[in-house]
């Protein structure tokens, strides 16, 4: 039997956060392949590479050098090639206006970075599981909005 993987990208300039994130996924029971990127330019270069395997879920930090999360989001939403990618904003800053703005611009999920590892694991597990349902059950991705 073929094993199915969920492909995950994370763009975040903070090395500790990236490590936290990959560790959390290692401990989940869902099969995932996680790639991380240090900034928005790095991420966009990879996404635009025709040979790249596109992610099922992309986690985007908002505050990054060179190209920030919102710029990446807008660029991704302009390109039809990326229509199937669920976008999760993964950020510490969160005013209500900020959050709503990212949703309006096409983000599917908004995650406020938690302070402890266990909460992070729980949140990531929930996000990936629900995305998996959208992916496998023909649910309408346009209506996929979630805040954690």
């Amino acid at each position: 039997m073929t094993t199915e993987y969920i492909t995950i990208y994370l763009a975040d300039d903070d090395a500790d956060d990236r490590l936290f994130f990959t560790d959390a996924f290692d401990e989940l029971k869902i099969n995932t392949k996680v790639s991380t990127f240090n900034d928005g330019v790095d991420l966009m270069n990879h996404l635009n590479d025709p040979d790249a395997i596109l992610p099922n879920v992309l986690f985007l930090d908002l505050n990054m050098p060179k190209k920030n999360g919102l710029e990446c989001l807008l660029e991704i939403k302009k390109n039809e090639k990326f229509n199937d990618i669920a976008i999760a904003i993964y950020s510490t800053s969160s005013t209500e206006e900020h959050i709503e703005e990212t949703f309006i611009n096409g983000a599917n999920i908004y995650i406020k970075k938690p302070n402890d590892f266990e909460t992070l694991k729980k949140i990531l597990s929930e996000v990936v599981t629900i995305n998996w349902q959208y992916h496998t059950s023909n649910l309408n991705k346009d209506n996929f909005l979630m805040r954690m």
Binding site: M1, E100, T136, N140, N143, L145
Partner: protein, 188 residues
């Protein structure tokens, strides 16, 4: 006169597979014994033809029984949530087990094993998805939607909606409307 023949199953089967795949015009890669990867989307017609061509050789495509049953459970749930004619008084566990002819325990264990979620959560997910559609259509009030989806009150619907999506029904509606406005503005 007799001749003794020695043959290698693996090579023979691979050769048959390759020929038949080519006959159907399916781009493929043979991964090893008993596994073929299709390098393109294969239509059900093509797959059917492929399976017919293999039949005389005693080769058949294995369908994963689990996957098939999971799909049936999902279809039954969608039907239950979206179809008003199904009696609202029947418990979903009873409904599913009668419709699919398996004990609910069996269905429930299998479902959790394969989909990473439970039947209960999947039902909630489907109900909330239906609520979202109705909210977007804007024809029914929240009270009417709650009633249609068999919630005891609007508060119950709102709290399940909030639990499942992290936002209130009205925040959801606001985002979807603004998103549409933005798309219309960008593509006049």
């Amino acid at each position: 006169m007799k001749a003794f023949i020695k043959f290698d199953f693996n090579t023979a089967c691979k050769k048959i597979l390759k020929e038949k795949l080519e006959e159907c015009g399916i781009k493929h890669r043979i991964l090893g014994f008993g596994e073929v990867e299709f390098l393109e989307k294969v239509s059900p017609e093509k797959l059917n033809l492929f399976s017919k061509l293999l039949d005389p050789y005693g080769i058949e495509i294995v369908k994963n029984q689990k996957t098939i049953l999971i799909q049936k459970i999902k279809d039954a749930i969608v039907d239950m949530v979206f179809n008003e004619n199904i009696s609202v008084n029947v418990k979903s566990s009873v409904y599913l087990s009668e419709k699919l002819n398996y004990s609910y325990g069996h269905l429930s264990t299998l479902f959790s094993e394969v989909t990473y979620t439970s039947i209960e959560n999947f039902i909630i997910l489907q109900k909330i998805e239906f609520a979202k559609q109705l909210i977007i259509n804007n024809e029914l009030s929240l009270t009417e939607i709650a009633f249609k989806l068999n919630y005891s009150s609007i508060a119950h619907l709102s709290s399940q909606f909030k639990n499942s999506t992290g936002m209130t029904p009205s925040a959801f509606q606001r985002v979807i409307i603004k998103r549409k406005e933005l798309i219309n503005k960008n593509n006049p």
